[in-house]
Symmetry: C2
Subunit: 247 residues, 2 copies
DNA sequence: AAAATAATGTTAAAGTGAGTGAAAAATGTA
DNA sequence: TACATTTTTCACTCACTTTAACATTATTTT
């Protein structure tokens, strides 16, 4: 049992590898090399081998990896061999769209219940058969159905309040679609899904490449802050991997 | 004009600062210190100042930052002083939910058109007044309305094909909700929104902390891969910032 | 059977970037 | 003028990422 630290980026890549392995398995491919899989996942082959080496030896030298076996191994590492039960809090457009997203159930995530605080939503049956419940039921349902994860898709103002409630109920992982940072105690993990931040990084990059070849004449038409100096684009190495705030 | 490299994480944090500055402005707050703003954004005050220092000097020593002025500065850096015109490709549940998402228009992103390849969708009027169009119109609309960004929310199999089309039409930034990596030429940026990868990292962390205090008796009930050795949790320093694949 | 080929596992090394702390500078106030 | 506050800036440390190179093992070919 080694006590080596595992980079966060490795875990994310494992998830990507897992997805492509599933597709290979579906296509009937039996064996895959690190080069082939790495090409699909858009990473360096050495990187893939190193990622796997944190956890053990799963390949056969001179041959490659058994697709089914490696898929099973990675799924196990990520904890995906079991089913994960999820509650959704917030039955707005985003929340409802997530319920219908096929990728979730494909990965073993099962929505067990939906909650909202808006009285006009409560009692309505959504596609998929779940009925929107009052938040008061949350603690009981989480315990009875042994829920482990929560998806938070409520207005920003309510985010912290409901996060606190979820933590009190014993939830250990929150996927947060709200545009506010939430504070949770140690031992609880949060992942943020924040569309506008991602769009903002796109506009930054595009703005940069636009002003890059711009001559002084054009620059003068830009607002004051832009006239001072032009900023370098984020270096291209980093384009492969951006960073996102999580917790 | 310095040629310093700007970390991708800095750009993301700028976006977060910008969001909180907006809220402060709305509350009528005139001046804010790096400590206050950093607390809101959940980062170190020194980090915030360092982030800003890449671009210039915007504060007043002994005082802090003028909220309105700093907001304007950061918006400028991110390229958000202008309006950004966006097309949506894929009128499924996710796509429709995004159209109704208030955060987009609040940031200056305007959906100008919606496209789909499913004939049963085409011609339908969605909430907000946009009518789903045939993909054949894409090139013309992008040129006529001078579209700069695209949101891609189609089934994975179509992702690359449509990305190619968008690139041909001159789109420079793509927000991709598909679960496939897409390949684009240099100069085009892609940001991925991938719920299941984020959920997978949550399940990894939770699985780890579960097996952590587990004795051998319990371990024996686990699948084979888990019995070999127990893996260390991703170190807690990194919990603040996860990494996500972008391009 | 030996050699050539192919592919993994592992180590090392270089580079990058993030976070932190403290001194210096500037501002406002008593 | 002296003092408190806060930004600015610099320097340092530490961790992570990536890549390359090489030893090792399996398969195929001659």
């Amino acid at each position: 049992m080694r006590k080596e630290k595992i980079p966060a980026a490795t875990i994310i890549r494992l998830s990507v590898y897992q997805r492509y392995l599933k597709r290979l398995l579906a296509k009937g491919v039996k064996v895959v090399s690190s080069s082939e899989l790495a090409y699909e996942a858009n990473v360096n082959p050495a990187q893939l081998r190193k990622d796997l080496s944190y956890f053990g030896r799963f390949g056969v030298r001179g041959v490659g990896y058994d697709v089914a076996s490696l898929l099973n191994t990675i799924s196990g590492i990520l904890g995906l061999l079991d089913e994960w039960r999820v509650v959704l809090v917030g039955a707005g457009p985003i929340g409802q769209a997530l319920l219908r997203h096929p990728q979730f159930s494909r990965q073993g995530y099962v929505f067990e219940a939906v909650f909202d605080f808006d009285p006009t939503h409560i009692g309505r049956e959504l596609e998929g058969g779940l009925v929107v419940q009052d938040l008061r039921n949350l603690p009981r349902v989480i315990q009875e159905k042994d829920i482990q994860l929560a998806v938070l898709a409520v207005p920003s103002e309510k985010a912290q309040e409901i996060a606190d409630l979820l933590v009190d109920c014993g939830i250990k992982g929150i996927l947060n679609f709200c545009t506010t940072r939430i504070r949770v105690p140690r031992g609880v993990s949060v992942q943020y899904v924040d569309f506008t931040i991602l769009l903002d990084t796109l506009t930054y990059k595009i703005s940069q490449s636009n002003t890059e070849g711009m001559d002084e004449h054009v620059k003068a038409g830009k607002p004051k802050w832009a006239r001072e100096h032009s900023w370098p684009v984020v270096q291209s190495n980093v384009q492969k991997q951006g960073v996102t705030l999580t917790s």
